[in-house]
């Protein structure tokens, strides 16, 4: 009896999580996969089987093509703003200054506490082309502020800066922690040998910190594309003419605005497949820990 109990017990502890994952994640993923082969509108009693049509549309429909291109632009901007710059700053804080490291950590993190809706509000104020402070300063210099929400690429830039405002401190802390776990004697040895700092960083530190860097890089893409959903929905709703939409936002539009669950599901599945590829990279390079449970 006791033995049997011991075997069942761990599964009992896992049960709540398992039920949640099953009901709100695993079954939904399968159901979305199923929906991607049908035309449906969320309400009609019947669904029409259309085979791979929805998947073909993902890649041939001109709007979807535009959205996929936008998604790549988003990824590029997000990598530069939310990965490269925080990484650069974390290297500076770790290796080029001696004081106030703790203070920078505390201060940089503050915007991470706030809603992206607050961020969207602040940036629409700061960058308001008529009455915002930047427009005000530009006017006094004799310049005019472009109406950025009328241009897809400018809107994407602003939206990426909004997520940068929120995510910067978080990513900065993760990367700084990674740098902190590099053994001090390696850094000291290089100092004694008189190796220049940037050379040390390029040849030793960056390769040693690769695990956490790849983790943050992948997080930047996977979470970033989902984070931008909020400012897109609050500020542009994907406009002008899908110019600031990305694959995540288009999936939402198709489902809950256009009521095309088939197209929406196919877009979601394509997104998921891309994310799964990133997951495999993550496991390959970062999740060495999984071995402990083998």
């Amino acid at each position: 009896m006791l033995n049997k109990n011991k075997k069942i017990l761990p599964f009992l502890y896992l049960l709540p999580t398992a039920i949640l994952l099953l009901v709100f994640m695993i079954v939904p993923i399968l159901y979305t996969f199923y929906l991607s082969f049908f035309d449906w509108n969320l309400i009609a009693p019947t669904k029409e089987f259309v085979g791979l049509k929805n998947y073909v549309e993902v890649f041939t429909d001109p709007i979807n093509q535009k959205v996929i291109l936008n998604t790549l632009i988003y990824i590029l901007f997000l990598i530069v703003l939310n990965f490269v710059i925080p990484y650069f700053i974390s290297l500076i804080v770790k290796f080029f200054i001696k004081k106030m490291q703790g203070a920078y950590k505390v201060l940089f993190f503050i915007p991470s506490l706030f809603s992206l809706v607050v961020g969207a509000m602040l940036f629409t104020w700061i960058l308001n082309p008529v009455s915002g402070p930047i427009a005000y300063l530009m006017k006094s210099l004799g310049m005019t502020m472009p109406n950025w929400s009328n241009s897809g690429i400018l809107a994407i830039t602003v939206i990426c800066f909004i997520t940068n405002w929120k995510v910067f401190g978080y990513n900065f802390i993760l990367l700084l922690t990674g740098l902190g776990s590099i053994p001090a004697n390696i850094i000291d040895a290089a100092k004694i040998d008189g190796i220049p700092k940037w050379k040390l960083i390029w040849n030793v530190i960056l390769p040693m910190n690769r695990g956490i860097a790849i983790y943050v890089l992948i997080l930047t893409i996977v979470q970033g594309l989902q984070y931008v959903f909020t400012p897109i929905n609050v500020i542009t709703t994907g406009g002008p003419y899908y110019g600031s939409s990305n694959i995540i936002y288009q999936t939402y539009l198709n489902a809950f605005v256009l009521y095309k669950t088939g197209t929406s599901s196919a877009l979601a599945i394509v997104t998921f497949i891309v994310f799964l590829v990133l997951l495999f990279i993550e496991i390959r390079f970062v999740e060495g820990k999984a071995k402990n449970y083998a």
Binding site: L9, P10, F11, L14, L21, F24, V27, P28, I29, T32, L35, L42, I89, I92, I97, V106, F108, I110, P111, L113, S115, V117, V118, M121, L122, W125, N128, P129, V130, S131, P133, W165, G169, I173, L174, T177, I212, Y215, L219, V222, Q226, T230, N233, V234, I235, T236, I248, T251, Y252, A255, S264, A268, L276, L279, E282, E287, G288, K289, A290, Y293
Partner: protein
Amino acid sequence: MLKKINLWHVLLIMLVLGAVVPILFMISNSFKTLRDSYTTMLNLIPIHPTVNNYLLLNKQINLLGLTWNTFFMATIVTIGKLLTGLLTAYAFRSYQFKGKIIIYLLFVATIFVPFTIVMIPNYLVISKLGLLNNILGVALPQLCDATGIMIFLKTMEKIPNTLIDAAKIDDIPNRKIFFNIVIPILKPSIVSVGAIFFINSWNEYVWPTLILKDKASFTLPLALQNYISSEGGTNFPLAMALSTIMVILPLIIYLIFQKYILNSISNSGLK
């Protein structure tokens, strides 16, 4: 050399100001009249300080109700995620069982599931349960998150095996090991993870957007959204007053638990 170091501080301080100054302007403008918010835009101290924006806001929307909705949702999500996370991490820490690595990788994988792939089925389930426009309906999908499990697991691994083994040999029931040994050791990380969960859920936007359509059921971020328009018609002092209300609680939590929170985030990245 000294000069060079100073220059880096100049850059870093400028970045800090870029991150924090907008928030200071937000708080300042929420105490300005609409007119002053245009004419004395760059004054950090309002010339004619007023709380009228807050009073007007309270007339236009049910501030107390919205705040309660948001607080209630964040509390349910925090408690739910802490409980499931602690139980799951404990099972991983104390037992050997088949499929452990598969389940572990499944947890890692949940981070890579875009919300778009679960949103239609979850919307249908919540609607079938009759929980549309209900705070419970918006809390349930948020519970499905493995980040807590991962952080707790890392902390539990630091508990020496001998401690738990000794307790097991003494035939102390698992329930007691969990509550009397594991939980007290984990207290700091429970506090910090709980604080992070609460703040994240307090700010949650996606699920409320999908599930809450009735204004009475709104959370604060949804209410704020209605005060923002890209066409420039926004009454910014009003929007900023609502934003200020929204950021107070996360700021207080951060001020109290700042050290724990930053440690937990650091740990979540350590592999």
